[in-house]
């Protein structure tokens, strides 16, 4: 028996095939969704850990998926080990419910995960005691679930998958049970978490030295965000937040949407790129389906409807559809599901660094996998003994702007320039994971090349997120927001001076803008974050008419 697992940023699920249909398994507490939260030391996993999040935030880890493939540690454990604890809990829950050992699994990852993130996920599964039969992309899994009942049809669908931490857009063609992915695009650091962070920094600048308050506030803000998908307003209340007094903040749906808009809007470009890569126009698509909890937000649904010029299909539960799809893929692999096959793609171009620090693409993005591509290397100098090959993933022209996967050395037989030849096969397997084979052209012997993993310079933000003290993280976060706010203020002040030279405002209007601009200057001087944010927002608001006039004037000149 093979289990299907959705290892999510916020929640995780496990399912198995039962009489030809995928079913999801509830944990001890009777819920199918297991929060992807781990409390250390302990360890406690799931709902039990989530309950401790507000009491001991520094010892409770959420959203570990955002750190997959990175060299960071929390209580001495790396992201794989922490993910393995979550997978282990799912495994035990399934074994308890099914009364048998469950040792094989299909695990989902965001389609835009790179090689390192996929390998880390696979290792996490192995650490949890699974044989990982397949790593499958989340939006593709969702498509399997949506397409299960219309296998004879031919259609083209887009899957819009906005989860807690990641965004993917995938375009597929369904043809007689063949699920052929045409293109995928995304961002592995864009999701509901970003909306929560923006919301939190908007409601209340984090209080230094009060991580407990911040943790409680985050929990309450997330709950309010969820309520606002159904209601027009929600009150965030923390009774006795500061001894005697309680904290209370009224959040409206419009207010939340104003905060979330810049984040949600980022999905637009990815969707257009995916369509272009699939060589389809909007009219070619038969339907758009949704996956991921953040697609419950009315504003996300509106954006999808406007962008794809049709109402999205919401017939499946967006929290469960990926796990159902993973279970169907498990069914395909064990032979329980017939007449279905999945052809996925590699999301990122694979290449090597060449002269001048350029990236030479060997396997372009959106190539169907599994796939092999060969490249011949030869000695550039007489008697050159070896050559160092750096393998990269990404879309940028310069090698340094792409993600380094690692490097390996090939050995040459001594000989004149251009005499020694070694063929290298780059293979991307069905999991989207790279394998490299070198073949000596003389002997024809092939051998697997071990890629030395690149040292991953850990992302500042991640370090902070996983830092032992949440308190510290917030000090630094405030620091970063202050820097950003100062940059924004300088840009606006320069723009105001420039715009005054072009547009003649009435003296009254001009005076109003000047007052706002002076307050921004003073706030910058003071270095008080709250004051600067407020002043920036006021100047932004106060120069709206000026911006409109500028655009109108430019349009007249066109």
């Amino acid at each position: 028996m093979i289990a299907g697992i959705d290892l999510g940023t916020t929640n995780s699920l496990i399912g198995v095939m039962d009489a030809g249909f995928p079913i999801l398994i509830a944990g001890e507490e009777g819920e199918r969704l297991t929060p992807s939260v781990v409390h250390l030391p302990g360890p406690l996993v799931g709902r039990a850990a989530a309950r401790l999040r507000v009491v001991q935030p520094a010892n409770t880890i959420s959203s570990i998926k955002r750190s997959m493939g990175r060299d960071v540690r929390f209580h001495g454990k790396n992201p794989e080990e922490i993910s393995a604890l979550i997978l282990g809990k799912l495994k035990r829950d399934a074994e308890r419910a099914l009364e048998q050992t469950v040792s094989r699994a299909v695990i989902t990852v965001p389609a835009y995960f790179n090689d390192g993130q996929r390998q880390a996920t696979k290792r996490a599964g192995e650490l949890a005691g699974f044989t990982v039969e397949r790593i499958v992309n989340e939006p593709t899994a969702a498509a399997l679930a949506y397409g299960l009942d219309k296998l004879n049809a031919k259609s083209k669908i887009a899957v819009f998958d906005l989860g807690g931490g990641t965004f993917d857009i995938t375009i597929l063609e369904l043809n007689e049970g063949v699920f052929h992915v045409l293109a995928t695009h995304g961002n592995t650091r864009l999701g509901g978490d970003d909306i929560d962070n923006a919301l939190l920094s908007e409601i209340e600048i984090a209080r230094e030295g009060d991580p407990l308050f911040t943790a409680r506030l985050r929990e309450a803000a997330i709950e309010a965000k969820h309520r606002l998908s159904l209601e027009e307003e929600a009150r965030i209340e923390l009774p006795f937040a500061e001894g005697e007094t309680s904290f209370s903040h009224l959040l409206t749906r419009a207010g939340l949407e104003r905060i979330a808009r810049p984040i949600v809007e980022k999905t637009r470009g990815h969707c257009l790129r995916a369509l272009a890569d699939a060589r389809l126009s909007l009219a070619d698509l038969d339907q758009v389906v949704l996956a991921g909890g953040a697609t419950r937000m009315p504003m996300v649904r509106r954006l999808v409807a406007a962008l794809f010029e049709r109402e999205p299909n919401t017939s499946h539960n967006p929290d469960e559809v990926v796990a159902l799809g993973a279970t169907i893929q498990a069914g395909i692999l064990e032979g329980a599901v017939q007449n279905m096959v999945l052809l996925d793609v590699t999301p990122l171009s694979l290449g090597i660094e060449t002269f001048g620090g350029l990236m030479n693409v060997i396997i372009p993005r959106n190539s169907t996998i599994p796939l092999k591509a060969g490249e011949m290397f030869t000695n550039a100098m007489p008697n050159q003994r070896s050559m160092l090959i750096k393998v990269l993933q990404g879309e940028r022209e310069m090698a340094r702007d792409n993600w380094p996967l690692g490097q390996f050395e090939i050995a040459f037989e001594p000989g004149a320039k251009g005499q020694a030849r070694v063929g290298v096969q780059f293979e991307i397997d069905a999991n989207g994971i790279l394998h490299v084979l070198a073949r000596d052209t003389k002997t024809g012997a092939e051998k697997i090349v071990a890629i030395q993993s690149a040292v991953d310079v850990s992302d500042e933000a991640v370090e902070k997120m996983l830092g032992d003290s949440v308190e510290h993280a917030f000090e630094d976060m405030n620091e970063r927001i202050l820097t950003e706010s100062k940059l924004k203020a300088s840009e606006m002040l320069a723009a105001v001076r420039h715009a005054f030279g072009i547009i003649d405002l009435s003296a009254e209007e001009k005076r109003k803008v000047e007052v706002l601009a002076r307050e921004v200057e003073a706030a910058m001087e003071s270095g008080e974050l709250a004051r600067l944010k407020k002043a920036n927002a006021a100047l932004d608001e106060g120069t709206q008419r000026l911006a409109t006039l500028l655009v109108e004037r430019a349009m007249e000149k066109e």
């Binding site: 007689e176 470009g269 052809l343 190539s367 723009a495 500028l550 430019a554 066109e558």
Partner: protein, 174 residues
């Protein structure tokens, strides 16, 4: 692998249908060997793109691929594309609405130029495809390998620039 004849033009839809039918039978998740499917996949990827299909055809037809002169107009287009790309790289978008409003004329100008460029590239692509069909209609009686090599190079350039122009337009419209 796909049982296609060795010729310059292949129907994209028919090719895809064949690929899907063979996949449903030979995919390793169902029955086949991983190596066989990889070969089938590689064959399909090669044949579906005019550029890679032509290169493959040339490799089969000639001992060495003839060097080709850049098709007419390519050099001029190259100058135009690189000038535009430079202007695009120099354009720094703003973060606030007021600063964005100030930059609007410059942004619109870039968008217009890239759109014009894209139209020229599309027309160029259509021309190449038309010539390819013409060659195909006389194939295999006449095998103008020099022209095929030139077309292959043309497809390479045009598809690369189309991708660049499209990407630039997407980020300018964001």
């Amino acid at each position: 692998m796909l049982g296609e004849p060795r010729k310059p033009w292949l129907d994209a839809v028919e090719l895809k249908e064949k690929f899907h039918a063979l996949t449903a039978r030979h995919h390793p998740d169902i029955a086949g060997e991983a190596g066989d499917f990889q070969a089938l996949n590689a064959a399909y990827q090669t044949l579906r793109e005019p550029r890679t299909r032509l290169r493959h055809l040339l490799e089969l037809e000639c001992a060495s691929i003839p060097g080709a002169d850049a098709p007419p107009g390519i050099a001029a287009l190259f100058m135009k594309m690189s000038a535009l790309q430079q202007a695009f790289n120099a354009f720094k978008p703003a973060s606030t609405p007021l600063a964005q409003a100030l930059l609007a004329p410059e942004r619109w100008k870039l968008i217009r130029s890239f759109k014009e460029c894209l139209a020229v590239l599309d027309a160029g692509m259509d021309e190449l495809l038309e010539e390819l069909r013409r060659i195909d209609s006389e194939w295999p009686d006449k095998k103008p390998v020099d022209r095929l090599a030139a077309l292959c190079q043309g497809f390479s350039y045009l598809s690369k620039w189309t991708g660049q122009a499209r990407e630039a337009l997407l980020s300018l419209n964001a």
